[in-house]
């Protein structure tokens, strides 16, 4: 039966419903478009904040639509969905402001913002998905809506990257679909229920459940950029900076990681997954990704590609946290979902500013840029230090919990991986900072291509401030860490 609940539907429609309007507005009417964009982004953020208050009080919000016999589209707000939805709503508002400034006077802005809206709508949809079927639907919509953004510039290189992107993500989507249908046939349900929905199937069909797990994780792992399924991410850096920042550093990769969290916690349940023996290989895959991503980042001179490989490595922390099968590690992994999102978007927005203002795209071109663009480089430095794991910044908090979780579950080798990864992070970030602040510029400084107005300058500053706050105020109940502790208490108690 159809069940209507205004709040989840409204959160979905503030972006999905706005998209057709944005498509229809001609390129030239930029003030109208900007107004609509900012209004809907702010409305979405307000609704998500209200939703989080309601969920913290224990209210249940669920909307449901039957599609096939026994299969419903379900939008439901639990603590985990609010976490992800809040991240994407906040960052959408900031990135929209940035994108308006970045794409000033470029062609096809109506197409860009229309698809941008659809992407954020899809992210909200999969955050609030109440079963694997709904998650799959929005997962694929995200793929479809991001393709036009990757190929936005219309060059041959962009189209090649787009083709690679689609090949990987559609292949991954097909794997998730196969796993979901198999699960549906086997278990009769695809609902997300804390601690799993499989019941006694683990004893009767262990082999099949393991295969389904592999299918699902492989499919989700494409978007989560697990090695060796990660090749699309560096290639997708050809997209404009707002796309790389919000979508490829935050929304798309986090959608994959979020899916993995949902599968392990709410479809299988952590105990069943551990009993089936699938958490060990998952942890191993995550560690390989962490190390490999960092090593590749060392070799990149192009700034965005270095950041892309860094993303590959960092998103695997979330997978690691889930796979370590312990509450402390889980807190670390989930908190890192938020922290890494804030840190990475700061860095990508700064990279965008460097390219727009001075045409700087490679690390080797960044000598002395700290003196000509101090605000941008300050934000970038803060984010880089947070990523390395300097206390008391955000990255330290999540890495510390992951290490403690590893020790608590007798997997102390995790600490070695984390330490090694932090060292590698330092190895590829500190030289950038050194070049930017302490090296002399190579020749006369290039004339500024365009000034960094408030639209390009404020968003990275805000996200950098949030990175600082997430670390300093980590013990406050409304911080990402506090919220994550609340979520994990539901799964593990």
């Amino acid at each position: 039966m159809i069940q209507i609940d205004i709040l989840p539907l409204a959160i979905l429609m503030t972006s999905m419903g706005i998209a057709p309007v944005l498509f229809a507005i001609p390129d030239a009417r930029s003030r109208l478009r900007t107004t609509i964009n900012l209004a809907s982004a702010s409305a979405k953020l307000a609704l998500v904040i209200w939703l989080s208050i309601r969920v913290a009080d224990g209210a249940v919000h669920a909307a449901r639509l039957p599609v096939m016999p026994g299969l419903d589209l379900v939008l439901q707000a639990d603590a985990l969905s609010v976490l992800f939805a809040a991240l994407s709503a906040t960052l959408w508002l900031l990135t929209t402001i940035y994108a308006v400034g970045y794409l000033e006077k470029e062609p096809n802005r109506n197409r860009f913002f229309g698809f941008f809206s659809l992407c954020v709508g899809a992210t909200a949809g999969l955050a609030m998905a109440g079963n694997l079927f709904t998650f799959l639907l929005f997962y694929e919509v995200l793929t479809l809506a991001t393709y036009p953004l990757v190929v936005h510039r219309g060059t041959a290189a962009a189209l090649r990257a787009g083709r690679l992107y689609l090949a990987y993500t559609l292949g991954g989507g097909m794997l998730v679909m196969l796993g979901t249908v198999w699960l549906w046939v086997l278990a009769g349900t695809t609902d997300f229920v804390p601690r799993g929905v499989l019941g006694g199937l683990a004893e009767s069909h262990p082999g099949e459940l393991r295969l389904i797990f592999v299918l699902l994780i492989a499919g989700l792992g494409v978007k989560a950029a697990l090695v060796p399924l990660h090749a699309w991410l560096p290639a997708a850096m050809v997209a404009p900076a707002p796309v790389s920042a919000l979508l490829h550093a935050v929304a798309v990769v986090k959608a994959g990681a979020f899916g993995i969290v949902r599968v392990v916690y709410d479809v299988y349940g952590i105990d069943t997954a551990a009993d089936l023996g699938v958490t060990g290989p998952l942890a191993a895959a995550a560690c390989v990704t962490i190390v490999y991503g960092s090593l590749c980042a060392l070799a990149q001179d192009d700034l965005k590609r270095r950041l892309a490989y860094s993303t590959v490595s960092q998103v695997a922390y979330i997978t690691l946290g889930v796979a370590l099968a312990g509450p402390v590690a889980a807190v670390g992994g989930l908190a890192h979902l938020i922290h890494q999102g804030l840190i990475k978007i700061t860095m990508f927005l700064c990279a965008g500013n460097l390219a727009e203002a001075r045409g700087i795209k490679a690390v080797s071109e960044m000598a002395g840029i700290g003196r000509t663009m101090p605000a941008t480089m300050l934000a970038f430095s803060l984010a880089a230090l947070a990523m390395i794991g300097l206390p008391p910044l955000a990255g330290f908090v999540s890495k510390w919990h992951l290490a403690a979780g590893g020790i608590a579950t007798d997997q102390a080798w995790v600490v070695a991986v984390l330490l090694g990864s932090s060292l590698l992070n330092a190895a590829y970030f500190l030289p950038i900072l050194h070049t930017a602040w302490f090296r002399e510029p190579a020749g006369a400084p290039a004339a500024a291509k365009r000034p960094i107005g408030w639209m390009l300058g404020v968003p990275p500053a805000v996200t950098a401030a949030l990175v600082l706050a997430a670390g300093l105020l980590a013990n406050a109940p409304f911080s990402p860490l506090g919220w994550t502790r609340f979520i994990i208490s539901l799964e593990y108690s």
């Binding site: 096939m68 694929e140 219309g154 041959a156 787009g162 559609l170 097909m174 196969l178």
Partner: protein, 485 residues
């Protein structure tokens, strides 16, 4: 189950007679063609919806026009499957008719009589309750389709129409042979009687094979498909839309109905059909990847989609098979809507750009945005990505294959998705590419009235992925477990 008042109970026959009479009227008064055509299409749509609602409430309907009942008379039988396809035909047809009426008299004065004849024939086909009636209506549909193929009058389309006519005639002769063999074995040809008859033996097997091969010729199942690419790619856009979306479904439905209601085919034959389907998917997709023209890509995509639907024949086991059949029928529905949208959108694109050449599309200065968007949305449904009718159909087909334990078919379905994504991306990449334009100045014509129908159809294809509960409820009793007498 014959309702109380015999005269009024025969109203489904109007769904066949009405369009045919309207066709005559449109032929006699060509200037009133559009009005008659649109009116008859809309009336048929209303009638089909009313029939669907009635069947949803009170079960299948059976009428006997003229009072002559089986085995010698002609009965009309409508269950959920027939009703769904009737609504599909009338709905998609009305949309295409709207697009043609809006395009002005350039589409040729004979479009309206041909379309109305096609509509009447298809309605008769879906309402047929015996094998010989199936033959008659297949012929009517075939003739109308040949006319539609040749409508543009260009030498390529006339040659394609002749090839189609020849292939169709061969198919009909085989089908007639099958009907005669069936009659010689059982003494009757109506579905209700045949369903309960138990005689097996060489005559029945030969009949099955003859009918299936004949229908395969008409449905363009690889390797008997050679007429289709030329026929669909060289016709005018509305004609291509009708041919790919509606005509193909007629013979496919006939094969489905015979398979489920009349014969009890061996599992090996089902596997053979599945293999033919897999071959069609591969061949159609490979040719679509290599096709030099946009309309050829769309035509080859039809071949691949028919192959996908054929996979349902291969799934055995009662519960699993029922789900797979429902998936196949939903795929037919989704494909009809999406393919009509796609051909109409391609018509708009070719009109705006001036040519059909896929490799030069990226150099075009004119980019018809709404038409390209409609094409992209239709492609989403054809690939089978959510939210679309194609996704729901594919899900059900996949569910059926996995439930029956036949993993190879599931792998084929996955491959079909990825292959269709590949050739659709080939076209979409040309839409997005802007660095090949000589001079660099790109013109984006805005919205025109002619973009409304393709976009509406494409959105309907997506909507079928959300609002699937209604149509699936109609299909619940599929496979038709017996056509009740």
């Amino acid at each position: 189950m014959i309702p109380a008042d015999p005269a009024l109970a025969q109203w489904p026959a109007a769904l066949v007679l009405g369009p045919v009479l309207a066709a005559v009227a449109a032929f006699i008064w060509p200037r009133a063609g559009a009005v008659v055509g649109l009116g008859a299409s809309a009336a048929t749509l209303a009638g089909a919806l009313a029939l669907a609602l009635q069947i949803h409430d009170s079960g299948p309907i059976r009428t006997v026009p003229g009072g002559w009942d089986a085995p010698l008379g002609i009965a009309m039988y409508a269950d959920g499957l027939a009703a769904l396809l009737l609504v599909m035909t009338a709905g998609v047809g009305t949309a295409v008719a709207l697009a043609t009426a809006g395009a002005g008299p350039r589409q040729g004065t004979f479009f309206w009589p041909l379309w109305l004849l096609l509509l009447g024939g298809l309605n008769g086909l879906y309402l047929a309750a015996d094998a010989f009636n199936l033959y008659i209506t297949l012929e009517i549909v075939g003739l109308a389709a040949v006319g539609l193929t040749a409508l543009s009058g260009t030498p390529e389309s006339v040659r394609a129409a002749l090839t189609y006519l020849l292939a169709g005639l061969m198919g009909s002769l085989l089908f007639l042979l099958g009907v005669a063999l069936l009659y010689s074995a059982h003494g009757r040809v109506d579905f209700a009687g045949l369903a309960t008859a138990t005689a097996a033996g060489p005559a029945v097997s030969a009949a099955l094979v003859a009918m299936l091969v004949g229908l395969a010729l008409k449905t363009a199942i690889v390797p008997l498909h050679v007429w289709l690419p030329a026929a669909h790619a060289n016709a005018t856009p509305p004609a291509s839309a009708l041919l790919s979306a509606l005509v193909i479904k007629g013979s496919l439905y006939a094969a489905m109905r015979l398979w489920l209601a009349v014969f009890d085919p061996a599992a090996a034959l089902g596997t053979l059909m599945g293999l033919l389907g897999a071959g069609a998917i591969v061949w159609g997709s490979v040719q679509a990847l290599r096709a030099p023209r946009l309309k050829l890509v769309v035509a080859y995509s039809t071949l691949a989609q028919v192959g996908l639907i054929l996979l349902a024949f291969a799934v055995a086991g009662d519960d699993a098979a029922a789900v797979a059949w429902r998936g196949a029928v939903y795929l037919m529905l989704a494909h009809a809507v999406a393919k009509a949208a796609m051909f109409l959108a391609v018509g708009r694109i070719v009109a705006a750009v001036g040519h059909d050449d896929l490799d030069r599309l990226a150099e075009a200065r004119v980019r018809p945005g709404p038409a390209q968007f409609a094409f992209a949305l239709a492609a989403v449904s054809l690939i089978g990505l959510p939210p679309s009718g194609g996704f729901v159909g594919k899900w059900l087909l996949l569910e059926g294959s996995i439930a029956a334990g036949t993993w190879p078919w599931a792998a084929v379905i996955a491959a079909a998705t990825l292959l269709s994504a590949a050739y659709m991306t080939r076209v979409l990449a040309q839409f997005f590419r802007t660095d090949g334009v000589p001079g660099g100045e790109i013109v984006r014509p805005g919205w025109t009235r002619a973009d409304a129908v393709p976009l509406a159809l494409a959105l309907a294809a997506l909507g079928l992925g959300i609002a699937a509960a209604g149509p699936l409820a109609l299909l619940a009793p599929v496979p038709a477990s017996g056509v009740t007498p």
